[in-house]
Symmetry: C2
Subunit: 281 residues, 2 copies
């Protein structure tokens, strides 16, 4: 996830159906053209979507002029100079957020996290990701009593590096939200198969490598690129933030915006943080 | 790689074409049936192959009786009790060996290492794997001046965890064998694409997860399972050792035996260790 694009939801002003998503015009390798393309695709797909395009005034002006008349009342442009900075604040106790994505596995959707936010493998971070992933699967993917697995290089206890060997017995004794249960160690296949787990927990380095390896395999076999998601939810901050792949195409951006709208309508950030026992000030 | 099967070559007694490979009858989840199946397939494919099946006497006796008469002079059985232990000894300076495998990427074969032998990510181990992988690509895959990349989560310098950030500048200044050159950081796609690198270097934890993730993606898309190799060469020991996937089928075992014969005929262990400046006692 390089040069990420962020889509951020603010409270809906006209009722629960409306989702207002801010989109960074300068995010990603193909900005702003790809971002505008994605924004218009997302508007086409969801009549209750309102977009706030954020970027430098010269780019914003171009976009406004190019917009079809029918979309003009649904898209607002906020001209700003400089990079958009996330000022949402983190949940208490969260030092670094996690990026969660949902893969379409053989047996059903599998949540994989972290896919790139926190790159050092620490037992405490892995345990935190297990709780985040369990709540995410329940709230966002409607999974009943999610099965949570810890990514390693074998399924027998004791397999893996030091961080995994420490996190495995800890997770076995940890209470998880949403009635989730820890099923032990899983291997790399699990992100594509979903036979034993609905949530695959790892550090941001390993998760990012795994996700891109799966995407590479799809490319090699000529599979549809969209099968691998190029948008991920940032968990651990107050608000809804979706980060898209730096090389995202218009269709990927549109999927990312749709994910942001879905998270917003589910009140995912508030629901997940409540399930994790975070106190809202 | 669980409950691995090892195939070990001893010096060829009848000329350079003959390869004599020892096969562990009890290796892998489907042993001994799958091992015997793989051994017979390997004999069919390579008339100059001689096999030494190693295992408990009751299993070995069964195998001998089941062998077709035509194969009996090519297959010897050595009845032993207890697990076969690698007594080959390691190269000086090698604390833990590395497992290297070759993936059939879009642009040509890509060597991925380590795929499971040494699971802690240390800058020194990553640098050692870069040299091993460069020599392996040149000696075993006939790659001229291999391009070596370090697996990370972005391609710009500074991307990755602490171990990658330390290894990247170190590798940029390190001399690699076989005229190989270090091309910097690569992402998970590279193992399937091979656009920028002939060798993808990582730690045994990340490499194992990546390999199994790619295999899972192939399963999801219904691709041929054989596209992902289920045999890897153990580098850093005096001798030729191939480790097969614990869930390997007969065809995988046969591929593993063929790889062992290929490594033996290339004198790969001696060539690679010589390229790395290891002194042979």
């Amino acid at each position: 996830v390089t040069r990420p694009t962020s889509g951020r939801a603010s409270p809906a002003p006209k009722g629960p159906e409306i989702a207002r998503i801010a989109v960074d015009l300068l995010g990603g390798d193909g900005a702003p053209a790809v971002v505008v393309d994605g924004a218009l695709r997302a508007c086409d797909a969801d009549p209750d979507l309102r977009l706030l395009l954020v970027g430098p005034s010269e780019v914003a002006g171009e976009v406004l002029g190019a917009l079809p008349a029918v979309d003009r009342d649904r898209v607002t442009v906020r001209p700003v100079s400089g990079a958009a900075v996330l000022g949402l604040g983190r949940w208490p106790g969260v030092r670094r957020p996690a990026l969660a994505t949902t893969l379409p596995a053989v047996e059903g959707p599998v949540v994989l996290l972290d896919v790139g936010a926190s790159v050092e493998a620490r037992p405490g971070t892995l345990a935190r990701n297990a709780a985040l992933g369990a709540a995410y699967a329940a709230v966002v993917n409607n999974v009943d009593k999610p099965r949570v697995g810890l990514l390693s290089i074998g399924t027998e206890p004791g397999k893996g590096d030091r961080a995994r060997r420490a996190a495995d017995p800890f997770l076995a004794g940890q209470q998880l939200p949403s009635g989730a249960r820890y099923i032990g160690l899983v291997e790399g296949y699990e992100a594509c198969l979903g036979e034993r787990a609905d949530v695959v927990v790892t550090d941001g380095f390993t998760g990012n490598v795994l996700l891109k390896g799966i995407e590479g395999a799809y490319t090699l076999l000529g599979g549809p690129a969209q099968t691998v998601p190029r948008a991920a939810a940032l968990l651990g901050v107050h608000g809804t933030v979706v980060v898209c792949h730096g090389a995202a195409a218009g269709a990927d951006l549109a999927s990312g915006i749709a994910l942001a709208a879905h998270l917003h309508r589910r009140s995912a950030a508030i629901e997940i943080s409540t399930l994790l026992g975070v106190i809202h000030g």
